[in-house]
Symmetry: C3
Amino acid sequence: MIHPTAIVSPLAQIGVNVRVGPFSIIHDNVVIGADTVIESHCEIGHPSALAGGRALVIGRGSLIRSHSVFYEGSTFGERLTTGHRVTVRELTTAGKNLQIGTLGDIQGHCEIGDYVRTHSNVHIGHESKIHNFVWIFPYVVLTNDPHPPSDTCVGCEIHDHAVIATMSIILPGVQVGEHSLVAAHSSVSRDVEAHTVVGGSPARFLCPTDKIKLKDGSGRSAYPWTTHFSRGYPEDVVKEWLSRIPASGQE
Amino acid sequence: MIHPTAIVSPLAQIGVNVRVGPFSIIHDNVVIGADTVIESHCEIGHPSALAGGRALVIGRGSLIRSHSVFYEGSTFGERLTTGHRVTVRELTTAGKNLQIGTLGDIQGHCEIGDYVRTHSNVHIGHESKIHNFVWIFPYVVLTNDPHPPSDTCVGCEIHDHAVIATMSIILPGVQVGEHSLVAAHSSVSRDVEAHTVVGGSPARFLCPTDKIKLKDGSGRSAYPWTTHFSRGYPEDVVKEWLSRIPASGQE
Amino acid sequence: MIHPTAIVSPLAQIGVNVRVGPFSIIHDNVVIGADTVIESHCEIGHPSALAGGRALVIGRGSLIRSHSVFYEGSTFGERLTTGHRVTVRELTTAGKNLQIGTLGDIQGHCEIGDYVRTHSNVHIGHESKIHNFVWIFPYVVLTNDPHPPSDTCVGCEIHDHAVIATMSIILPGVQVGEHSLVAAHSSVSRDVEAHTVVGGSPARFLCPTDKIKLKDGSGRSAYPWTTHFSRGYPEDVVKEWLSRIPASGQE
């Protein structure tokens, strides 16, 4: 299951049924869970003094696509899935079922919950906090320096089920509330209330999320998105979401 | 012409005079036209259940630069040229002389015409339609989900000779008209009329394209760009463009 | 120090104590200074007719991280440091201690001074000029074509100590003055005066830079940033900066 051209350290702890593709490198300080696939041209467990000796831990059932680079010192729950050419630096901790899109760049020292999905080319700055079931769309940047360059680092915090649409940036220290929506091409400098839509640069309150209707002609609200979208989530999670919908369609 | 470190499936159909660079991988279900160059560290024909068994077809005379990844199931006409680290997913069809810039990301299920040029770091969402002679500049994103996340996918459509300038996004389902210009750093939520300039976030009508003058002191209009720009196009195409210019400088 | 899987041309001029990682390629027309590290999966000195036969020169003490591609014909001073997957085209000249972030894309024919730092995913268009101690943050694009596509190329010029924040674009030919600050998510179409903040799309004057205070409760101005930030600069440089601070906190 290890391709003969791959370079795998004998010190790496590799679970059963792990595949490693051609021209990939697995360094010493790595723990890879069972049933994981590392595709070609990856570098896993890049040594770093900043990791303080902590291992890179990849949960079981993960898929890391080609040309990705992970440093020592981060921990991922089971079923991590990445696109191609992902970069993950030191000391990030993530829950289960994280998806990182192609070209994603996680700068390190982040805390990420369960079932978070970032699309292509998302940049997560140091010290970001992302809770559960969050969606982040292409070319979004989470920033952390309020007056760059400086030694101040104030990460953003993105709460459960929030959605950040394409090419938006979240400025340092901003709280993005539960089930909120940041419209595309926005620059968010103030906290976003739960269940609201903000947009623009600088972003302003636009409406409650339930004013946005599905384009399927049903007349139903598009948010909370958990009322109509379930692709990729386990049955028990979706069942719990649906049990929480009141008659009005809002949580 | 196949580098000894490259891994090339004996099932791949490879034309005459094809070169494959070091550390590149060519999978089974691939047809590569004659006189094509695949540079180093590429993965060509990445297997995918989503391709429905269709091959990846690369037309003759193509150049795929290093670290690029193409999935099964897409078809490209002759003289495809890519930058480095391009990603192309399943079931896209493109005409001849497509140029994809470095870090370009084509998500699949797209239809692309002839002589389309995308610059660095352009993201083309699923179900996008791009006609002929279109230009897309760096960090542009074509989106497709009107209320993300959802199961609705409504691609954009970019018509002949349209130009989308740097760091703009086109929202789902938008039609960008022939010979129109989307100014840099715009977010386009409504259809763009042919031969007009739009800009801003949200983008608004700014002027007819022929109001924009060349900076060369000639006093001539910069648009239609086909009146003054011909680099990289074949003579017969340029001749046909020039034959269509009326006295006013507009088509 | 050369990994056995690396492919290194015998014609390349490689200094003492240079390391080359697995699966990297060093072409013929390359000069690499002593004590430099080239990580894995790189391609260094990609041949190009556009380089006019000039070598790629990398100064001593440099670090080029994995999956990077450098073409022939550019010259870098000592202690160049790059992130992963950097692309540098032909005929750029840079001073010492340049840092290029992950996914950085330098298009060629640029002039870059000393101690310039670009963060992740910065795109520097052809013919850009960047002076000394400049900071460029993620997803910034420096453009050069005033009416794309055309044969006109007018690079931007970024002066000493200027700071361009995340996801901003600088339009062709714009001068960004010394110690100025371009706020995040801006589109800059007019020259930026020294020691001023501009922001928005199109960017407008917001305030003098010294109106922005540090978030550390000290009440001090955050700009000029050289008054409080010194990480990564040599002592003599920092000493000279601090000697120039007048009582008002401005240079």
